[in-house]
Symmetry: C2
Subunit: 707 residues, 2 copies
């Protein structure tokens, strides 16, 4: 949690002992009126103190001119005065010893008044108070019977809590809880996140015994790493809908990696690392929340589908494949037993089709047997409404079969497709703790989320161990020298020196300022060599005719030196030309790219992909917030579509993936250590050799943060 946000602060926000409403009003339509009214309507059990400079009574409650006039201790305060008046009332709350402030008021950073917002937070912190908001609709809690908001009513009761960065959406979802039958314990409007942020709430809700599942609607995080840390530590499923995944071209990026890193990709990586399950729509957020509220994780891959309709069975099978939990045939004993509860033309494979004639008995028997069988890790029961069976009865049969076996042992999810009576049956099932959905694909999709969550629970959480045999000071010295010269891009040679300081295997490269030096270096290092322009003003050396490969003798080195310099001058007449880099000619290997950006939300973030065409045309790359352990780096190699190339294709041997993972891991420490200095980097290409033969970084780029 941030310095001032602690459990006590959030207690005072989400379950306050008493509440003062500053800006309470008798004028209908005013927010300060609505909130008092909603608190009363919700039957909030704590003391309510309306604060209003003029009125003596508000909606039947004794009102006070200032919070300082309240005779008792006040736990939380809701602020609904105009923005310009907030500083004063915050100060008064501080004097009064209030623990936390719910600032409804808008007109702060969202309209550019960051100054006002910061001043408010500073003031609150000076008294040890925390702030939720500003610019929020408030906080709703069923267990506290507290509607401390201007939303019309408390949501349908349930076991999930939702934190939303959009107040408008939260109100709409609040009302939708009743029509969609997805219940919530708490709804929290988080607004501008001037103080309390998503990570804080995840940490608190993870401890809240009324909350089984944490649902988030996120537009943009403020403290990305804090969020990852708190989510990873949480013991409850977290499902998040991230809005704003459109790729706004990162055209201004100076590195290859920068141009490939869209917000969507980095958020996806961060959520994966945080163990957060992504929802892809509002509907999906509700669907998943319902399943996580009511069902345990799915501990294995064996999904069994029972259906009375071949069609919906096939649709479920398709969905299972799409969601990465493809159906397998049930074992023989399961098939034999299930065959007893269906007509001859039914199927006991998977999906298990007990046919359209299936009444409650067949459902009951087959669900009971399947749910109890050890092979089955998760169960999807489908019902296609027929003219001859009663959906309510079927629902009761399913519920009976499950509860007799022991609801909660493993996940079961239901889908009824039909009309009014099917909808009623599903509502009844949900009220009896069995999630039900109006389409087979939705049922399968949420079950795949329960499977994903089981995997998250066993995710390798071992911390990154810092490599201590790296030379951070040396790297910083190089960077500082570049800064001194007023540059913010390192030359290739400087970048390689920084890489080398972190133990990365760079192709040996030395600077020749003259033809003679070039010949000398090439002769010492051994022919053939690669020659590359060194100029802080020309980043794209190839475009400037600044690269020569496979240079075989002294004469060619001399000729190469002259040509490269001439080309560079022709390309950019005012470019500073430092010289020509003489580099060992690395033998051919599989080309990959490793790079990094310094993400505004998540900080240093590493990228990996296959090089050349794969990165240029297919953009087949993967990201991780840095640093990453060797094991996590290894997993990155498997992330990309073209990953199998590293296993050896077309007669090649397996590439040295271990060495590559080590490079990525060290690289991730480098960009973390130097996060205050480095904006973007590329190691492109990195050549990866056969097993035991390591890698070689052939070209390097480091762009510094502007200071």
């Amino acid at each position: 949690m941030s310095k001032k946000v602690n459990g006590k602060v959030i207690d005072a926000l989400l379950k306050p002992q008493s509440i003062a409403i500053i800006g309470a009003s008798n004028k209908s339509g005013k927010i300060g009126n609505t909130i008092v009214q909603k608190l009363l309507e919700g039957k909030y059990g704590g003391k309510i103190y309306p604060i209003n400079p003029k009125d003596k009574e508000i909606l039947g409650l004794k009102a006070y001119p200032s919070i300082l006039d309240v005779p008792e201790h006040v736990d939380g305060a809701i602020i609904a005065v105009p923005a310009e008046a907030t500083l004063q009332v915050v100060d008064e709350c501080g004097q009064k010893g209030v623990n936390a402030l719910t600032v409804i008021t808008s007109g702060f950073s969202e309209v550019g008044r960051t100054d006002l917002e910061e001043a408010m937070v500073d003031k609150a912190h000076s008294y040890g108070m925390g702030i939720m908001g500003p610019n929020i609709i408030g906080i709703l809690s069923n267990s506290e019977q507290m509607n401390a908001s201007f939303a019309p009513l408390l949501p349908l009761e349930g076991k999930a809590s939702l934190v939303s960065q959009s107040g408008a959406l939260l109100i709409a979802l609040d009302m939708a809880t009743f029509t969609r039958r997805v219940g919530f314990e708490k709804l929290v409007s988080i607004g501008n996140m001037s103080d309390v942020n998503f990570g804080d709430l995840v940490e608190w809700l993870d401890q809240d015994e009324k909350t089984q599942c944490i649902a988030l609607y996120i537009e943009g995080l403020k403290k990305g790493r804090h969020f990852i840390e708190k989510c990873r530590a949480a013991r409850k499923p977290i499902v998040a809908l991230k809005a704003g995944i459109s790729e706004h071209g990162a055209a201004a990026a100076a590195s290859h990696t920068g141009s490939l890193a869209g917000a969507a990709k980095v958020y996806k990586a961060a959520f994966d690392q945080a163990g957060v399950i992504m929802a892809d729509s509002v509907g999906n957020l509700f669907d998943r929340t319902l399943a996580f509220s009511l069902q345990p994780p799915m501990e294995g891959d064996n999904l069994l589908v029972i259906t009375n309709g071949g069609g919906v069975g096939v649709l479920a099978s398709d969905a299972a494949e799409k969601c990465d939990i493809p159906l397998k045939f049930a074992p023989k004993d399961v098939q034999t037993e299930l065959k007893k509860h269906m007509p001859e033309f039914g199927s006991a494979k998977n999906p298990v089709d007990i046919t359209g004639g299936a009444g409650v008995d067949w459902y009951y028997e087959s669900v009971k047997y399947a749910y109890a069988h050890k092979w089955v890790d998760g169960l999807v029961v489908l019902y296609c409404e027929t003219a001859v069976t009663d959906p309510i009865e079927i629902a009761e049969g399913i519920h009976k079969a499950i509860t007799e076996t022991g609801l909660g042992k493993k996940p079961v999810v239901v889908s009824f497709l039909g009309g009014e009576r099917s909808d009623q049956a599903m509502q009844w099932l949900v009220e009896n703790d069995i999630p039900a959905y109006d389409a087979p694909d939705k049922a399968v999709c949420v079950l795949s989320g329960l499977r994903q969550y089981a995997k998250i629970c066993t995710m390798d959480n071992s911390p990154f161990k810092i490599y201590d045999h790296v030379n951070r000071d040396q790297a910083l010295n190089i960077i500082n020298k570049v800064r001194t010269e007023g540059r913010d891009a390192l030359t290739e040679i400087e970048a390689k020196q920084v890489f080398a300081a972190y133990g990365l295997p760079v192709a040996e490269t030395r600077l020749a300022r003259t033809e003679d030096e070039a010949v000398e270096l090439a002769t010492i290092g051994g022919f053939p060599v690669v020659m590359k322009l060194v100029s802080p003003d020309i980043l794209h050396k190839s475009d400037a005719g600044g690269v020569r490969v496979n240079v075989k003798n002294a004469d060619d080195v001399r000729e190469g030196f002259r040509t490269i310099v001439a080309n560079a001058k022709a390309y950019k007449s005012d470019a500073t030309i430092i010289g020509v880099a003489i580099q060992e000619m690395a033998p051919w290997g599989t080309e990959v790219i490793v790079g990094s950006i310094n993400d505004p939300t998540f900080g240093p973030t590493i990228m990996f992909g296959l090089g050349g065409i794969f990165v240029e045309v297919l953009k087949d790359v993967t990201f991780r917030v840095a640093p990453v352990t060797n094991k996590q780096a290894f997993a990155m190699l498997k992330d990309i579509t073209s990953g199998p190339i590293l296993d050896g294709v077309r007669g090649e041997t397996r590439r040295d993936q271990e060495a590559l993972a080590t490079v990525i891991s060290y690289y991730s420490q480098m960009i973390s250590d130097l996060a205050n200095e480095i904006a973007e980097t590329d190691a492109n290409p990195v050549l990866v050799y056969g097993e035991g033969k390591g890698c070689k970084i052939v070209d390097a780029r480091i762009i510094l943060k502007k200071k």
Copy 2:
């Protein structure tokens, strides 16, 4: 249409003048009882003749012992007698002069009784009758007030017609029409498709003035090409949900192409060629059907989103990007005008955020202006339920703005997110011809379908012009020779000869049976050469050590010949070794693969992809049902993710895409012409050179159909 299925037949099925129900019964619960009852309940206007050998009256209607006893002409007959009794009643229907039969009865090909099914169809055809089914629930038509099925009731009235291969699903969807507020004109259960198939119904429904949109639930087509032809010819939008897209490994395939061609990919290609829009779930099928029923195609790419909530606006923007209609900023004049109908902190960009305070007036004004503006090609209006506005009023305002401007000029789709009142408002909108959805992403998704449909309407429909300067007979001679020898795989040399007969640019390759012949051929053709084993028993030459490249002189040719033969014998001691192919050494070019399968549903189907790693690891390939015109072949090059490689990457020039498209087009004629003979083919690799320099097929494989 098939030989016996014509408009009159389908008229007699979907809007019969009179109906006999054979197997009608007074026994409640019997299908023959339910159908008569449902016909009466639906208030069907034509004459109903229950046929029952014993009862004189059924449900108040005069019954007849046999259809032959009915005094008047009978248009259509519904058959609900046991399977074994069908032949006789079909015969009687024929004698009576019935036009078409709706065969409800099951127990035919779906349980292996294909013989019975075929006999029934033959019998019907002998009288000129057509058959719907067997194994169906029946046919429902709102405009005929005809529920000729055992589904409980006619669906909610609407402008779409649905044909379903699953009867159970059709009943469930029938009932769901009321809860989901998606109306249908006709529901047709198509069952085993022994006679009337999807293509026939598409053709008929396209002429049906009550049907605006054709919705299909397909498990497997029987006549793939007929379906494509009828769908392409249709003038109404067709949306299809294809169940069974899971990839059943085509592991037994003998060609590379065969192993890559899953049912899902081929269906996707066929649907694209047919101009059929795919739904990806039952919900999506309904969502799209509603939009197609009520709204015109979207003629351009300019989508404008108007919203009262930033959150849902961002979600809509994300969905637009995902659905390939990314939002663009509205032009200045649009922004200036819209700015007048929102508070200062609103946004007139796109999404246009008229803010949470937006009441009916702001909605009315902004929707009216936007809908009328020529820049706007399609409009999505979002509403997030608030505490201070009334969804019904907002809906009325939106509807007024649209109708005053002229509903139907361009598509408009609405999404209300909220509770009960939002749902009511949406229902009202749908009843007033404006599709409304409960999530912003759904609204955007259906609008993208309307955009897709506009593109389908302008799709190039020019027929394939047969290339006449090809030598089909020569190709057949080669194939016949192979057949004569009892083989079903051509050698590489034979396959290349077939390719050459179709004018395809094969690398010159000749058979050397001896070392001396090998040297002679290599010398005549010129060094260097490639040497490849020729054995009908060894298809994977490389695995057998049967390939040598860049063989530079006579001595190496001799040594190569001996080694290849020795390797082959070691690899498979009983393999017939015909000799060694001596092939010109084609210069390096970009590797691509062209191939084909003979799909059980769609017949000859061509595949294209980048070669080597791209096809092996990434499986980045595209299919088309053959033949394809040059223009269609060219479009295939743009289909694949790695397609841009053909534009030239990493210093290469643009590849000769025109020559490649020509190769694909000729190739597609070859596999079409020889469809009775050829099962699978590969041209792999095909080397593609720079512009104007053409292609060269380096290796060839043809597998014949088993006969």
